[in-house]
């Protein structure tokens, strides 16, 4: 399997199935770990980083040989990848933006089904992440801790009895765990209740981020909710805290959707239909506008306002219309103007199918 093979698929977390998957896109567990006998990344020399990467590469290989890690998993040296491939991995959420952009030797291990990835030399030496479609935090945690055990058989982690797993940033120390769920909350955004929801989440120490994590804007009404505290509570307690708040948010979003249906069905239907119309006919379209419109369409499908389109298709379009995906899929490098044209073509091709109303002359 190669990186190019990934481009045409859409990965586990976008499968669009699993519990509550109309609102909960995915569940993710991330563990931060460091090797005990190397400085953290900020004080590591180029030689240290190269050595850490070499050691961990060797460990991954021996896990593969022992049949413990999937033989077909990919080991990618991120520092040697072209820009478009690094961006592709970010869009796919297999690596972080920081990992794509930083300096020095770094790599990622990618599970072929994209259920897990392990970043090497990100902010910490190791970032183990497991992703599942829908609301499945317990399953994700079980898999993450298993992966962690497997890696720990091979290396010694930086750990301290009082403070737990030691990380480069004190905000991650202790369990090193970040538990997050990605939610699609368009009705709360339309009814302008989302800020209120964020405020109450902040009060109970949960963080809200956009689709691509730290510092990213909430594009297309997708939000990541995660724990801020990592010390002084067990991993299960931290996961439970996030898991407990999700049903409440789902309920709010469903109530907001019902409210919109009851009080302004025409406006809502109009909004959804126009979004669908633009996506099916536009000749050039930006990534942001696409996300914004696909968000309305996605909600329209869930409310039965659009009949002939499936959620997994929308999930796939959300990712496949991102800049690097478009370029990987079309096989050529495209500047922004050309990407907007290619994106519109791609959307028309996938949303019109055999159905009437296709105004494309291409």
């Amino acid at each position: 399997m190669t990186l190019d093979d990934l481009a045409s698929t859409s990965g586990e977390w976008l499968r669009g199935s699993g519990p509550e998957s109309d609102i909960v896109i995915s569940s993710r567990i991330r563990l931060a770990r460091n090797l005990a006998d190397f400085p953290f990344i900020s004080r590591a020399t180029d030689a240290d980083r190269a050595e850490i990467e070499r050691i961990l590469h060797g460990r991954v290989e021996s896990l593969r040989t022992a049949g413990k890690a999937p033989a077909e998993s990919l080991y990618l040296k991120v520092s040697e990848l072209p820009e478009v491939d690094r961006q592709f991995l970010v869009e796919r959420q297999l690596i972080s933006r920081e990992h794509a952009q930083s300096e020095g030797a770094r790599a990622v291990v990618v599970d072929p089904s994209e259920r897990f990835s392990v970043m090497i030399n990100e902010e910490d030496h190791l970032r183990i992440q497991v992703m599942h479609s829908g609301l499945a935090l317990n399953e994700a945690w079980e898999q993450a801790t298993k992966l962690d055990d497997m890696i720990e058989e091979q290396v010694t982690y930086a750990y301290n009895e009082r403070l737990g797993y030691l990380t480069a940033c004190p905000t991650n120390t202790g369990t090193g765990v970040r538990v997050s769920v990605m939610l699609h909350l368009p009705a709360l955004a339309i009814t302008r209740q989302i800020e209120k929801v964020f405020k109450s989440l902040h009060k109970i120490n949960l963080a809200v981020r956009g689709l691509y994590g730290e510092g990213s804007q909430a594009t297309g009404d997708f939000y990541q909710i995660s724990n801020q505290v990592t010390l002084g509570q067990t991993e299960e307690e931290l996961a439970k805290k996030v898991a407990d708040v999700v049903p409440v948010l789902i309920d709010y979003e469903r109530q907001a959707r019902s409210f919109l249906i009851e009080n302004s069905q025409e406006t809502l239907h109009d909004r959804v239909s126009r979004a669908f119309g633009i996506l099916r006919t536009a000749q050039t379209i930006s990534s942001e506008e696409t996300m914004h419109l696909l968000s309305s369409v996605r909600m329209g499908i869930n409310l039965g306002l659009i009949g002939d389109l499936a959620i997994p298709t929308v999930n796939k379009l959300l990712i496949h219309t991102q800049p690097a995906h478009l370029q990987k899929l079309s096989g050529v490098e495209l500047d922004q103007a050309d990407r907007n044209i290619e994106r519109a073509t791609y959307l028309r091709r996938h949303l019109n199918g055999e159905s009437k109303g296709n105004v494309s002359h291409n």
């Binding site: 400085p39 403070l163 594009t219």
Partner: protein
């Protein structure tokens, strides 16, 4: 509606959170893209926030002189000074948690509300990994010895490193 940053029509209506308060922005596509594109600072927005938090805690009960002295303290293992940590918000090695324990305590307390780990414990080194920390220090010292051309000292350090590493291999039964 016109874009708030230029004269083109506003096609993007963004709700941004400023200090937890929502504020509306109306921008054209081009301005919206540059607004939405993560700036260098945004990508690292945790760091200034953390540094600010730290500064706050340090301001309490520390005179300028004390703070200046504290900032100069350097970890004997990785060499990071407290000032460097305050600036970048990232620690240099596991030993920093021991060496700067007193300074980090209020910070950890304000982030986590707790300072005692209760979660998962690694099987390999449940009581911590002091010897591994030694390795970080020795490797750094060896590099310094080589660069100041103290080759005899460098080779002594190298022998110590080998000794510790051999001990690990034995422990692992290799």
């Amino acid at each position: 509606m016109k874009c708030q940053k230029c004269d083109r029509p506003a096609t993007f209506h963004i709700t941004d959170l400023v200090d937890g308060e929502p504020s509306e922005l109306h921008l054209c596509e081009e301005c919206a893209q540059s607004f939405l594109a993560p700036s260098q600072e945004e990508a690292q927005d945790v760091m200034p926030a953390m540094a600010g938090l730290l500064a706050q805690h340090l301001a309490v009960g520390e005179t300028a002189d004390e703070l200046a002295r504290l900032d100069q303290r350097a970890c004997p293992v990785c060499g990071i000074t407290f000032l460097q940590f305050r600036k970048q918000g990232r620690l240099g090695c596991p030993h920093d948690y021991v060496f700067f324990e007193k300074e980090l305590e209020p910070l950890l307390m304000s982030i986590h509300d707790q300072t005692q780990h209760v979660g998962k414990v690694p099987k390999r080194c449940p009581h911590g990994a002091d010897q591994q920390t030694q390795l970080i220090r020795l490797r750094r010292e060896m590099k310094e010895a080589v660069s100041s051309e103290e080759y005899e000292r460098a080779s002594e350090i190298r022998d110590k490193i080998r000794e510790i590493e051999a001990g690990f291999r034995e422990a692992k039964g290799e």
